[in-house]
C-alpha cells in the first residue's frame, strides 16, 4: 500500500494551565488513507478534538507543548512554520465544527464567508469566487444557491448551516476533511442527511475524512476505520465492521451499549458508562479506564496496557489488560443482555470490590481522588 495521506505518530499535546499541566493527548498514533474515512470516537475531554486541532495547527500557543509527528503527504505538519501551516489549512486539510451557527460569523453573509475561504488560497476575482461559492452551495444541496449567497447565517436552518460549513470546507478541494462532531448540534433526521452528504462528497471528490464524535452510531455507516479514545489515548482501533462485530475494550462496550439501536428491545434501558472522564492533569495510574471499568483488577491500577494487535483479527488493536478469552466471553455475555456485574461474576468469578480490595487500598484511594465521583460498583 502506498504512503498514507496522514500518519500521526506518538502525538502528545500538553497545555499549561493555572491548575497544572493538562496532558490532553498522550501518545496517539493513527493513519488515514487517501479517500478513506476514519472515525475518532470518545467522550468529551478524551483528546479527540485536540488531536485534530493539533494536526490543523490550531492548538499552537505559548502554553502548549506538542511532540510527535503528523506526516501529511510525507510532510510533518507539526514542524511547519505558521505561514506554511496556514497554506495547508483550508486548502489541503479543511475542518468543520459541531455548532454551525456559532462557527459561522454572524455579521457576514455566507457568500462573503465562502468567497473569503476561496480567496484565501486561490488567486481569483471576487466574481469568480462568487460563482464558485454558488457551485459549492449547490454541491452540498442548498437550493437557490445564487440567491442564498446573500443570506446571513441566522437565516438558514441548522442543517443548511452545516451544509454551508461543509461547502466552505470544500472550497479548495481539500484532500482531508476533519469533521468535528458534525451532527451533534442537529436534530436526528438532519443528522442522517449530513452524514449521507459527507459520505457522498467523499466518494465524488475522493477526499479522506476524519469524523470526530462521541457517538459510535454516527460513524457506524460512514467510517472505514474507527479509533476509540479515552483520556488522551487510543484504547482500541479497528475496521468499522470489526469494531461493531467484536469490540475488545470494556470502554468500547460501554459506548456501544449507550447507542440507541433499532434492535434494542423496547423497555431495555440504555446504559451510560458510569463515572466521569478522568482528570487529565493527574490521570489514573495503570490503565486509565480502571477506575470506571467494571472488570478492573487490582493489578490494572499499576500496569499500563500497550496498544496491541488482537490475535486473529488483523487490523484490530486494543489496549486492555484482560486476557483475550475473558474479553470475548464478557462481550458475549453483555451482548446477550447481561448486566456488567453479573457478567463479571459469571465469567471472572469474583466481584469488582473483592478484586480491587486486597492490594489496592492506597491505589484505589489515589484513583478516587484523581477521579472524584467514580463509584466502586457502577450499576
Amino acid at each position: 500500500m502506498s504512503e498514507p495521506l496522514l500518519a500521526v505518530e506518538d502525538l502528545r499535546v500538553r497545555f499549561h494551565t493555572e491548575d497544572g499541566v493538562v496532558g490532553a493527548v498522550d501518545g496517539i498514533s493513527y493513519t488515514v488513507e487517501r479517500g478513506k474515512v476514519l472515525g475518532i470516537v470518545g467522550e468529551s475531554g478524551s483528546g479527540k478534538s485536540v488531536s485534530s486541532l493539533t494536526v490543523m495547527g490550531l492548538s499552537r500557543g505559548s502554553n502548549t507543548d506538542i511532540s510527535g509527528r503528523a506526516l501529511f503527504e510525507g510532510r510533518d505538519l507539526l514542524t511547519l512554520g505558521s505561514d506554511e501551516m496556514r497554506r495547508v489549512r483550508g486548502n489541503d486539510i479543511a475542518m468543520i465544527f459541531q455548532d454551525p451557527l456559532s462557527s459561522l460569523h454572524p455579521f457576514y453573509k455566507v457568500g462573503k464567508q465562502l468567497v473569503e475561504a476561496i480567496r484565501a488560497h486561490q488567486d481569483v476575482s471576487k466574481e469568480a469566487a462568487r460563482t464558485r461559492a454558488a457551485e459549492l452551495l449547490a454541491l452540498v444541496g442548498i437550493p437557490d444557491p445564487r440567491g442564498r449567497l446573500d443570506n446571513y447565517p441566522h437565516e438558514f436552518s441548522g442543517g443548511m448551516r452545516q451544509r454551508v460549513m461543509i461547502a466552505m470546507a470544500l472550497a479548495n478541494d481539500p484532500k482531508l476533511l476533519i469533521a468535528d462532531e458534525p451532527t451533534t448540534a442537529l436534530d436526528v433526521t438532519v443528522q442522517a442527511q449530513i452524514l449521507e452528504l459527507i459520505g457522498r462528497l467523499r466518494e465524488e471528490l475522493g477526499m479522506a475524512v476524519i469524523i470526530i464524535t462521541h457517538d459510535l452510531g454516527v460513524v457506524a455507516e460512514t467510517a472505514d476505520e474507527i479509533a476509540v479514545m479515552y483520556a488522551g489515548q487510543i484504547v482500541e482501533r479497528a475496521p468499522t465492521d470489526r469494531l461493531f462485530a467484536a469490540p475488545e475494550h470494556p470502554y468500547t462496550w460501554g459506548l456501544l451499549r449507550s447507542i440507541p439501536r433499532l434492535d434494542t428491545p423496547r423497555g431495555e434501558q440504555l446504559v451510560p458508562i458510569a463515572g466521569r472522564p478522568p482528570s487529565l492533569i493527574s490521570p489514573p495510574s495503570g490503565c486509565r479506564f480502571h477506575p470506571r471499568c467494571p472488570y478492573a483488577r487490582a493489578r490494572h491500577a499499576e500496569v499500563v496496557p500497550p496498544l496491541e494487535p488482537v490475535p486473529e483479527d488483523p487490523g484490530h488493536e486494543v489496549a486492555c489488560l484482560l486476557e483475550p478469552p475473558t474479553r470475548r466471553a464478557l462481550w458475549a455475555a453483555l451482548r446477550d443482555g447481561a448486566a456488567p456485574e453479573d457478567a463479571r461474576s459469571r465469567i471472572m468469578g469474583d466481584t469488582r470490590a473483592e478484586a480491587m480490595a486486597p492490594v489496592a487500598q492506597p491505589v484505589a484511594a489515589a484513583a478516587e481522588s484523581a477521579a472524584p465521583g467514580t463509584t466502586e460498583n457502577p450499576t
Binding site: V88, R89, G90, S102, E116, A169
Partner: protein, 320 residues
C-alpha cells in the same frame, strides 16, 4: 425600519417636551433668586422690578410661562433671552456649537485612533508586558480627573505657561472658518485632555470584547479557512468586538455634544458646556433650559442613531 424610525422620532418629540417641562418646573419651583430682581440690579425700586417682571412675563402663572416658552421654541425656534448675559439664547448656543462639535469630533478621532489599536494589541498579546503596561496606563488615564489632566497638560505643553512650550494654551481657540491652522493648534491640548480617559476606556473595552470574541467558534473557523492571523483578528474578531463599542461611542458623542464642561472650562474653549455651567451658576433659566434641551436632543438623537446603526452592524437585529 421606516415605521420604527418614525415612531422613535415621535417619541423623541414627546421626550423633549418632558425634559423641557421638568427643567422648567425644577427651576421655577425650587428656591432661587428672582430673575426680575436680578435684572433690576442694584436696589431696583419695586416699580422697576414689577416692570421687568411684566416684560419678562414672570408675572404670569408658570404653566402659561411654559406654554409661551414652548410656543416660541416650536414656532420660531426662539429660546428666549438670557437674564445674565442679556443675549439671545439660540444665538449663544448655535454660536458655541461649532466649538463643542470641534472639540468632540476631534477627540473622538484621537481616542479611537489611540484606544482601538491599544485595545487590539493588548487583547492579542494578552498578559504580555506590553498588555500590562497599556492596561496600567489605561487605569491611570481613567482615574485622572479631566480637569486635573487639563491643568497638567497646560503646565507641561502650553506655549504660554508650559514647561515645554509646544502647543497653544488656554483661551487660544479660533473658529475653523476663521483660521484652520490656529483652530487645529488651539484644540490639540483640549483634544488630548478629553480623549485620554475615553481612549483608555475604549482600549479596555475593546480588549475585553476582543478577548471574548477571539474565543468564539467563528474565529476557529476563520483560522481553519487558512486566513492570515491579522485578517482573523481584524476581519473577524474586531468586527464582532467593535459592535458594542459603536453603541457606546454613539452615546458618548451625544453626551459630549451637549457640552464637555470641564475640558471647555480649563482650556476656555467657548462651547456649550461652559455656557451651561455659567448659566447654572447664575440661575439663568432660559440658558439652562436651552442647553438642557439641546443636550437632551443630542443624546436622544444619538440613541436613535445608535439603534439604527446596530441594525446595520448586527444583521440579526431587526426593528419593526
Amino acid at each position: 425600519m421606516l415605521r420604527y424610525i418614525i415612531r422613535r422620532l415621535l417619541w423623541m418629540v414627546v421626550l423633549l417636551f418632558l425634559v423641557s417641562l421638568v427643567t422648567f418646573v425644577i427651576f421655577y419651583l425650587l428656591p432661587s433668586a428672582d430673575p426680575a430682581v436680578m435684572r433690576a440690579g442694584r436696589q431696583g425700586s419695586p416699580e422697576l422690578i414689577e416692570r421687568i417682571r411684566h416684560t419678562l412675563g414672570l408675572d404670569k402663572p408658570w404653566p402659561v410661562q411654559y406654554y409661551e416658552y414652548m410656543k416660541a421654541v416650536v414656532l420660531h425656534f426662539d429660546f428666549g433671552y438670557s437674564y445674565q448675559n442679556n443675549s439671545d439664547v439660540r444665538e449663544q448656543i448655535t454660536s458655541r456649537l461649532p466649538a463643542t462639535i470641534s472639540l468632540t469630533l476631534g477627540s473622538v478621532i484621537l481616542w479611537l485612533s489611540v484606544g482601538l489599536p491599544i485595545g487590539i494589541i493588548s487583547a492579542i498579546r494578552r498578559r504580555s508586558r506590553l498588555d500590562r503596561l497599556a492596561m496600567g496606563g489605561a487605569l491611570l488615564a481613567i482615574s485622572a480627573p479631566v480637569y486635573w489632566l487639563g491643568l497638567v497638560l497646560l503646565y507641561l505643553f502650553a506655549n504660554d505657561i508650559g514647561v515645554i512650550k509646544l502647543f497653544p494654551g488656554a483661551g487660544s481657540y479660533e473658529p475653523l472658518t476663521e483660521n484652520p491652522g490656529k483652530w487645529f493648534g488651539s484644540l490639540i491640548l483640549p483634544w488630548m485632555a478629553l480623549a485620554a480617559a475615553f481612549a483608555a476606556f475604549y482600549a479596555r473595552m475593546l480588549r475585553s470584547n476582543l478577548i471574548e470574541a477571539m474565543s468564539e467558534d467563528y474565529i476557529r473557523t476563520a483560522r481553519a479557512k487558512g486566513l492570515p492571523e491579522w485578517r482573523v483578528v481584524l476581519g473577524h474578531g474586531v468586527r464582532a468586538a467593535i459592535t458594542p463599542i459603536v453603541t457606546v461611542l454613539g452615546l458618548d458623542i451625544g453626551i459630549l455634544l451637549g457640552g464637555a464642561i470641564l475640558t471647555e472650562s480649563v482650556f476656555n474653549v467657548p462651547g456649550v458646556g461652559r455656557l451651561a455651567y455659567d448659566a447654572i451658576q447664575h440661575a439663568d433659566l432660559p440658558v439652562i433650559q436651552g442647553t438642557v434641551l439641546f443636550g437632551a436632543f443630542f443624546i436622544i438623537v444619538a440613541n436613535l442613531v445608535v439603534d439604527i446603526m446596530y441594525a446595520f452592524l448586527d444583521p440579526r437585529v431587526r426593528y419593526t
